[in-house]
Symmetry: C2
Subunit: 221 residues, 2 copies
Amino acid sequence: MATRPNGNEPISEMTTGRLSVYLRCLTYLESANKLTVSSAELADRFHLNSAQIRKDLACFGEFGTRGVGYNVAHLKDALVHELGLDRMRKILIVGAGNLGMALADYRGFNERGFHIVGMVDIDPEKFGKTSRSGIPVLPWDQMPQLVRRNDVEIGILAVGTDSAQDAYDGLVDAGVRAILNFAPVQMRSHRGVKVRSVDLRINLESLSFYLKSVEDGIALE
Amino acid sequence: MATRPNGNEPISEMTTGRLSVYLRCLTYLESANKLTVSSAELADRFHLNSAQIRKDLACFGEFGTRGVGYNVAHLKDALVHELGLDRMRKILIVGAGNLGMALADYRGFNERGFHIVGMVDIDPEKFGKTSRSGIPVLPWDQMPQLVRRNDVEIGILAVGTDSAQDAYDGLVDAGVRAILNFAPVQMRSHRGVKVRSVDLRINLESLSFYLKSVEDGIALE
DNA sequence: GCATGTGAATGGATTCACAGCT
DNA sequence: AGCTGTGAATCCATTCACATGC
């Protein structure tokens, strides 16, 4: 059971994003045999304020020891638990193009807490093929069965703009409640389904804007 | 020249991110032969507030007509210009693994405003190979010349965690001032260089947190 | 009348500053 | 002495509401 003092306080998305970052750092510190770490130390590593880190961590209990700091192993375990990573979640990738294939083999997608069960595609040419690491491509038609049999909880949309909404709707129908979307579209959303979008184009354009600002002599940053 | 009323007001990153989204929508509306669009209409398409859209657009001039809305073609051109997309920016990808290869062929990276000149890698096995669409892999050693000769302005880090900092430092030395980073690390940053990070693992963990919250009966969303 | 542009109000996240514990 | 946990203060983004202009 969680050591959370108050089970229904809402933890912001900003905070949980940083928890992931802290967790990564703690994993490193643990492997470096560091026993304890202070919020100030963590704040240095990223460009953050130490009070913010303390606030983030305080969301689900009192983990630190005053005068000392946080126990690395302890805090790491707590974060793993809070993020729900102490249990395996199955992933299905929709779209076996370049991006889908690359994601299938991406380290970190098949690490602690996650396991990719396969890819699906509508192109019969691709059926039976596998990614380099051996993740198979199956027919989109079989998606509902795949989801049910393997208890897939997360869907990754690596399809083109045109197919994204259909793929999304299909996954939701099949019972998937969390989606990582790489298609550059704002989809009509379903209630009770979490969608996170990674829009590569927006990131590039943001860099372009920065470069232009520099050219124009407008000091940013 | 920009129609910007006041050249040195700082436009927030939140805003520029949305400008990209608006631009995409306008491109669509233009292709659908729509002549004019209102902030309320745009607000519906995304889940946004119309006032926010007007504020965003007002950052660099008065583009709308009261009682009518915004001229689609006009506004689109203005956004293209403001985002600096009316000029070609060259991209170099560092790391020719699965991800680098997938990114090299990603539509939208070789579209309006951007052009990928190549990939570099340290693995001699990969030299001379190309992505499916023909983007070549060259030796990392040649990176500085490549950057200079091709006027590369943007670097994409598609390398592993261990090499990320070195690759970053190298690109900056060679004169690159904008970086899109896919490695899951917080890098020691250089002044005057813009880095945007896409952390796939954090996105997955955020979904995991959502799923766990649902399991625990904590209503999110 | 209708939709923009914008000051004022709100809401949320970050930072400050310090009380409290070890 | 040192560092956590947290109310108070600050900062920034979003939303409201309305005056302004077509």
